[in-house]
């Protein structure tokens, strides 16, 4: 199949993602330096909060969305062995999203949208920020539609056949994202945009926070699913073995997508506008969604063990040593799982209903999500990029050893950055401060940890630059001989010949999600229309 058009489509998305990523890494290092107070000349709340807002938007919205779209297009065309459906529409989505990013970047970089990426009404930003963010989301909806159409068309043409696992996961993610983004879309369209344009005088921040909580949890699973997809469909083959179980992989993706949605109130545990019964209900759901991650951990480690033993590894742990540690995909998954274990532990603390009070809005929280997102998830984005780049540009990877150094330094840098960050939270440091000016002895205990974080950030910045360098050198290498290896999807130990329809389709799960969402968000949203609330007028910052 001549897939030049698909490759160009995927590459364009991935480049936007990674350029946003490296720009945001520079901002991250500036932020740890500024916050530490070691360089008094840097001290500026207005620059700091403009930077934090931009860093958050670039990492959480631009890197992720563009990466997932580019990855999805390539997975769809290679796993289904079909060209991407309606390429002009796909390019339309790309440009729409890119125009949205540029439109949002202007107020962000000029300090007119320092409201952080979670918005915080009744503080208002320039309307262009909200409109730009909306266009980015609408662009991503185009991707969702294309994924769903390709899924349905393939199923129609291959009646009774199991959909390739990679495509099943990608379609689940497209469905998940449509549901996920609806919450924030309602907030932005009916509250924030009219509010920022002055069409409405007041808004209810309680309702805004509830709608944002709808999006805030499943969005992290939207980011995570490509990493899990790589765990299941690339890792076993790259390690030299087989996927432990195809059915369990599908079940894990289903439970992830279904239970990621109705549980957002663990972000509102400390909020006064929702009652405890609803919080507890969402809290229990939050623990349920730990299950697919535990299953994934098992399947991935079991697949690695099979590979290790096939390569001659012996003994209880000997197979770990015989894994191909110099394969970028295998190294990434090992480092990713290590970060997942610690990040997952922190996540259980956050999810624990009342214990959450101990760490809520302290430095622990950014420590946690950097470990689990920038660590566990993004290191798999790197692994996917290193794996796909040679196929996308038809040239071999510029340097495998540089790539290995990059992955190790990312892991080491992330450990040095996030460990002190967690400790700072337990010592009571709030998150989202630009400097420490509390006249209190407690702050002396924070200093050494602030200092360590500067080094963690520096290592990460170096690693990020090396990543971009390897990708650019691979693509621009004029001397490289042609590379014609094809993408390889892992084979399960037990090949699946046929599957029950609910393991091979999204229709049933869509209905289950609708019911669960109505139960868990129905009354909590409706209450704002029955309660005697007083809205808030807009505030600057």
């Amino acid at each position: 199949m001549n897939d030049a058009a698909e490759r160009k489509l995927a590459l364009s998305h991935l480049w936007v993602a990674f350029i946003a990523f490296v720009v945001a890494c520079f901002m991250g290092e500036y932020q740890v330096l500024e916050r530490s107070g070691f360089i008094p000349a840097l001290d500026s709340p207005s620059v700091y909060f403009a930077s934090v807002s931009t860093h958050g938007v670039l990492m959480a919205f631009v890197l992720t969305t563009f990466f997932i779209m580019g990855f999805g297009y390539y997975i769809a065309s290679t796993s289904l062995k079909q060209p991407v459906w309606n390429k002009p529409l796909a390019w339309g989505g790309f440009w729409l999203a890119l125009v949205g990013v540029v439109l949002a970047a202007i107020p962000l970089l000029t300090g007119k949208a320092s409201v952080l990426y979670t918005f915080y009404p009744p503080i208002v930003a320039h309307a262009a920020f909200y409109i730009g963010a909306t266009l980015l989301v609408v662009g991503s909806w185009v991707w969702c539609v294309i994924m769903l159409v390709m899924f349905v068309q393939w199923k129609k043409a291959n009646t009774g056949q199991p959909v390739p696992l990679a495509m099943f996961a990608t379609t689940m993610n497209a469905m998940l994202w449509l549901w996920t983004s609806a919450g924030v879309a309602l907030e932005v369209l009916f509250q924030l945009i009219p509010f920022s344009l002055g069409w409405i005088d007041t808004i209810d921040p309680g309702l805004s926070r509830t709608l944002f909580a709808w999006t805030l949890h499943p969005i992290v699973y939207f980011w995570l699913i490509p990493a899990y997809t790589a765990f299941y469909v690339f890792v076993p083959k790259q390690a030299g073995g087989f996927l432990f179980s195809d059915e369990m992989a599908r079940l894990a993706f289903i439970v992830l997508a279904v239970f990621a949605l109705p549980i957002g109130f663990h972000h509102l545990y400390m909020d006064p506008e929702q009652a405890k019964g609803w919080k507890l209900l969402h809290g229990i759901g939050t623990f349920v969604v730990a299950l697919p991650t535990l299953v994934t951990g098992f399947t991935v480690i079991a697949s690695l063990e099979i590979a290790g033993r096939l390569r001659g590894g012996k003994g209880l742990f000997g197979w770990i040593l015989s894994l191909p540690w110099t394969n970028t995909m295998v190294l990434s998954v090992i480092l990713s799982l290590l970060m997942l274990i610690f990040g997952g532990f922190g996540g259980i603390v956050n999810a624990s209903y009342a214990m959450n009070a101990m760490i809520h809005n302290t430095a622990w929280v950014p420590g946690h999500f950097h470990l689990i997102f920038a660590g566990t998830t993004v290191i798999m984005y790197f692994a996917i990029a290193y794996y796909l780049w040679p196929m996308l540009v038809k040239k071999p990877l510029f340097s495998n050893s540089m790539a290995l150094v990059q992955l190790w330094t990312w892991f080491i840098g992330m450990s040095i950055l996030t460990t002190p960050w967690h400790v700072l939270g337990l010592l009571g440091e709030p998150r989202r401060i630009s400097s420490v000016v509390y006249n209190n002895l407690l702050t002396l205990a924070w200093k050494p940890y602030e200092f360590m974080m500067i080094f963690g950030g520096l290592i990460l910045l170096g690693s990020a630059c090396l990543f971009i360098y390897v990708l650019a050198k691979t693509q621009l290498n004029p001397a490289a001989e042609a590379f014609d290896q094809e993408i390889e999807f892992a084979e399960p130990i037990h090949a699946v010949a046929s599957l029950p329809e609910w393991l091979n389709d999204i229709k049933l799960w869509n209905k289950v999600i609708a019911v669960l969402m109505a139960i868990s968000f129905g009354y909590p949203i409706l209450q704002f229309f029955f309660m005697d609330t007083s809205g808030s007028s807009p505030w600057g910052y």
Binding site: F49, L116, G206, K276, A302, S536, W539
Partner: protein, 200 residues
Amino acid sequence: MQTEPLKPKYEQLLRDFYTQFRAIHIDQLERKWITISLLVIGLFVGIITIDAFFHGVNPPSKVETVDSASLHLNKEFAEDNLGVQADEKGNVIVRMVAGRYAFFPKHISVPAEMPITLRWVSMDVLHGVHIPMTNMSTMIVPGYVAEITTTFPKPGEYPVLCNEYCGLGHNHMWSNISVIAKEDWKAPVKSAAKGGSTNE
């Protein structure tokens, strides 16, 4: 719509689902792992639920509204009613207003080892507050009263910190609280003329 055959239809669907579910190939080892995972999750959820229902361990969740724009006209949160008070039954109640960039009153004194009910309101934007080394933590959302009851175990001087981005001066938003040994603490007498007695 046919209503009559609906029930058997769903029963049949569920039965099919169950048979198909049983037919999925799940390895023995994986079965064990899933069972262990479910038990661990069940244990966590069980502890949390029992604590919530029988020990009253819940996050601040009193859905009570207030007009944040007119707190000065609100009897409860008018300036002279803020700070620490003890009601007829001896319960200690603290009323606090959060506004850019401080918590008012700027300093309060409360007893250690006694349950204290804190009622926080915002007069402008979103804030959050926590007192390090204690479990006093809540969001303060404009339009709502954030109420939390807690006990400070150890006497000492504690900072009261804003933990939610509320504007460019956010880092400067903090106040102080003195936790005094129970026996040294005297309930302030509520008097509108004097204001909260421990207020500065």
